[in-house]
């Protein structure tokens, strides 16, 4: 049942993430991306089975990992994902800061052109 619970939680996080991707505020968009990242990590973790709470670490004198421990493979995958996700997050936050600082808006609906929008002219129309 734990698997079902976390599968539902991953689905909920993913849904909220997608919902945020469809918002106009660029900050919400970034939050949405991060939530989707969490949902992905949780999905891998759940798919790797939650059978044992024992970490995949050997005792001092063992030469092999003896069952039952948690599966080490999904953990290795997720660890990489967390770190990469952090890199992406840092870059995104700074990028958003720059975009908003430069254009004065955080509305993705107004970011439809690669050219700098001349705000004064547009208001004058």
């Amino acid at each position: 049942m734990t698997g079902l619970l976390f599968a539902a939680l991953a689905g909920a996080l993913f849904a909220i993430g997608i919902y945020l991707l469809m918002r106009r505020s660029i900050l919400k968009l970034v939050i949405g991306l991060l939530l989707i990242g969490h949902a992905a990590n949780l999905s891998i973790f759940t798919a790797g089975r939650l059978d044992s709470p024992i970490p995949p670490i050997m005792t001092q004198d063992a030469i092999q990992l003896n069952a039952p421990t948690a599966d080490p493979l999904p953990q290795a995958l997720i660890l990489t994902a967390i770190v990469i996700g952090f890199g992406l997050q840092a870059f995104l936050i700074v990028l958003v800061r720059r975009i908003v600082g430069r254009n004065g808006v955080d509305d993705t609906d107004e970011m439809t052109s690669t050219d700098i929008v001349d705000r004064g002219q547009e208001d004058g129309k």
Partner: protein, 769 residues
Amino acid sequence: MSLLTLIVLLGFLAAAVAPALTSLLGRRVKFVLVLYPAGTFVALWLMVPQIENGNVIVESFSWVPALGVSLSFLLDGISALVGMIVSGIGALIIIYAGGYLRGHAQISRMYALLLFFMASMLGVVFSANLIGLFVFWELTSISSYLLIGFNHERLSSRAGALQALLVTGLGGLAMLAGFILMGMVGGSYEITELISRADVLRAHEFYPAMLLLVLLGAFTKSAQVPFHFWLPNAMEAPTPVSAYLHSATMVKAGVFLLARMMSILGGTDWWHYAVSFAGASTMFLGAFVAFYQSDLKRVLAFTTVSALGTLTLLLGLGTEEAVRAAMLFFLVHALYKGALFMVTGSIDHETGTRLLDRIGGLRRAMPITAVTAIVASLSMAGLPPMLGFLSKELLYEAKVQAPFASFLLISLGVLSNALMVGVAALVAFRPFFGKMKDTPKHPHEAPWSMWLGPATLTLISLVFGLLTAPLLGGLWNAAVISVHPEASPVALKLWHGLNEIVALSAFTVLLGLLLFWMRDRILAVIRPPAFLRALKAEQIYHLMIAGTLSFAKRVTAVFQDGLLRHYVMFVTLVVVMFGFWSLLAAGPIDLAEMSGGLHVHDVIIALVMLGGALMAAYSNSRLVVIGSLGIVGYGISMIFLLYGAPDLAMTQFAVETLSVVLFVLILARLPRIKDIVSNVVRVRDGVIAGLAGILLTVLLVIATAEPLSSRVSPFYSAASYLEAKGRNVVNVILVDFRGVDTLGEITVLAIAAVGVFALLRQGSKEGKP
């Protein structure tokens, strides 16, 4: 022996080296390039005795064996006849083009494209496999496109080229669909195999569909009504191209296809009525419209349409007499029409115009051209002693003995042929007799390279007319037998004695001359009716093009309106739709693996995380949003900790703390979050997002419902200490077994750091940190 394969491949090779040869040899290059078509012609001529009695030479190479596609070629009567027309006229055209485009900067492109076309066309003619035939067929369409658009700086050239490509290309696709149906039903793409299974194909319920699709290909290529309009527009091409592709060879590919298909798909009522009807209407309409044209080249273009209609009609009738007439007319038309087109090109080249009203009295200035044109016109009008006379006699004979609608066909035929006689007289007399007129250029005789081609073709028309049986009889009979296997060989004779056919001929000629005599008066009095001029098939083409473009614009406006959130919405919708669709097809899920208890603390963690995520979605306060995101992150760390992943938990804790700090530091001064959308949009987005979430959950449940059997994890568990001397298996995987991946990960982080640094520096330089 693989002579045919060699011929086709050599052609593509010649096309590839033509530009280099041209820059090496200059003007003399035509004497080298002409060796390819001339050699091909001679080789085929020498092969004729081997196939005269109905033998077929087949060569086959495996190409895509998995799909039953082979590169196979065959030589029988009709492919030898058409192959010799393609290579023989091709040789003359190479010489002619050298004179016509003398000094043109892009002449090497012309040579290369002409040779490319020649090789493709020979491929069509020799192909013994339907897929191979289709490939070469499309190559001729592409070379035709490039050649019509040769003067690509002119808008009308480009439009004509595109039109030809679209019309013939669409037909080609239909034809491919027809071929695939034939292959499915017949179990093979080899033409010889399909002929032996013709009864099965003709009796199959798909027969009407495959016939219609193949006919679409043939009719578009051979400019049958209502697809005829591309051919006159293709006259934008330089004249050597018009003479070669758009009168003598490529446009005959459709007729050739009909002849090839006759022993597979022919002989049914569907075939007779569909093919004859298209042919008869094209024959008459082409001749009628040709009579009204004032541009010499368009006159010839419409008579070509009419001739293609005649050939189609004959193959539609499909009787022994009709096939005999068709095979002869195929050659006759190529000879006289190729010559007349080249003559027109010479006139245009020397006088600067080809409008009938502006040229006259050229017989003194251009005597050789004049004689050529007049003699070629005799063949077109079907007068003795030309080969054209013979073919017209056979034509009338076929129509008189037609199995159905004989009287109607004869009337239409006589009228069309009379119009042809009138047009022939027009072409023969208008430019060369009467008063000299002021032309843009002072006229003089064309250079030898430009009269050699038409004069040779016309001479052949004359000699073959006089000595038909010994020179042509074998090849012609072989061609007839290859199309109509039950036909018996007959001897060709110029004079059959006085009978009803000769009477019909005489009447036709008189009527034609009368039409020529009265042309100016007819044109002044009877204009084509207004509705006929308005009801042009070309309008449909333009409407279709405009419709396609505006449809594409509307679709783009809906799906790509420039708003990111809509893009996300459409992508999500499509994924959700297909995801659920395939889930429904898969059937119910077995939840047996999912049994087991549920810890209270797990539920609490999940609820707290859900609450955090909802707050992040709902709140418009930046601090609340960032704090809520932190709650979700810490929650996931707790899950990692509880289920045996302390490394993950530690990393996630560290990252989450850092990112909350980063957010607060940098985003604190952002404007307040505004999300100005209506509640309807919110609900719509909520539903779509909710469906996506449900899809993920269901997929996860399905994935975990299956028993897990991994070979990778046990390997790492066993080898971690023995091979890598590490007891924390996760760490060993990351820094040892998959160390290179981790190096890549570090590189990504370094790049991100450089990016962050650059963005921050740029921002501070502009004074707006």
